[in-house]
């Protein structure tokens, strides 16, 4: 500041109660004689007061409901998908028929409860490396699904 540059950041530290005892005593001795520091201190105090007076930004009414929905998704990391991949390898062939039937049902219902992420992972070829030896019908069904999910806005 003009007029006095003995104290810079110390002004703030004084206001915030963060000065060590020695510096604080030095500053307090200087303050009554220095109009510049007194004014700077006063302005900082009123600035903080102004910030404290700002109306708080309130969470929107849906905030809580949205959060618990997100929690529910996060807590069950992939839902049906996790159980799916947890099936033992040999189970895949048997699961194939069920899958085809399930996909047909899904395609007909276009279940809106499945999130975009679910579909993206279903359509993700890497996720299905396990299936290299699997039932060709199953793979065909997945192709159908992939083509379908690519063509939809999901």
């Amino acid at each position: 500041m003009s007029g006095c540059n003995r104290f810079g950041p110390e002004l703030d530290a004084y206001l915030d109660g963060e000065l060590d005892a020695e510096t604080r005593e030095g500053f307090e001795a200087h303050l009554p004689a220095c109009a510049s520091c007194s004014l700077a201190l006063e302005k900082r105090a009123s600035l903080d007061h102004a910030i404290a007076l700002l109306p708080r930004v309130e969470p929107s009414p849906q905030f809580e409901a949205r959060f618990w929905a997100r929690m529910a998704r996060a807590e069950e990391p992939a839902g049906w998908r996790a159980r799916w991949f947890a099936l033992p390898r040999l189970g895949w062939v048997a699961a194939g028929a069920a899958l085809v039937a399930g996909l047909a049902l899904l395609l007909s219902l276009r279940d809106p409860s499945l999130s975009a992420q679910d579909w993206a992972i279903v359509a993700d070829a890497e996720g299905f490396e396990l299936l290299l030896e699997a039932d060709p019908e199953l793979l065909a069904a997945l192709d159908v699904l992939e083509a379908w999910s690519g063509s939809e806005e999901i």
Partner: protein
Amino acid sequence: MIDDDARLMLRVRGGDRRAFEALFRRYTPPLVNFLARMLPERDRAEELAQEVFLRVYQARDRYEPRARFSTWLFSIASNLALNELGRSYRKRETPLEESVLDRLEDPQPGGEEHLEAKRAVSAVEQALASLPDRQRAALLLRAERGLGYAEIGEVLGASPSSVKSLIHRARENLLKLLGEREP
């Protein structure tokens, strides 16, 4: 020393869902407010606030009450906000013409004074928004949350002396932006 929040968080670690709900309710307002002041978009601020609580919950098994719970919570929030801001380009500073600090006191509902007070509030909000991100974070943690320099340092990953400097520059910049130039 373990504060009340840390005690709740230890219960969360032990699997107590109600303790988590209590922390969530207690900290939603200050967290949303802080992130809304840090980020330009309100919706994004709310998403990040949710992200903070989600991370707290996911990290519950590893929780140790080393620092105050709120320090930990605001560290996660600051990190997320500063990362987010680092990715988007910086807003331009728009200095405000006139001094507004005097007009902030005691807004009267209705009439000219009320309008003036509203303008003053909006000027302070704008000036805050145009501060460099870390300065804004440090000053908000000081002026709104009442944290000390050491704690702000923990939140922002900075030494107490860097915090002192951040806060000094934040106030200098704000006073300039608000037209309260040094005599």
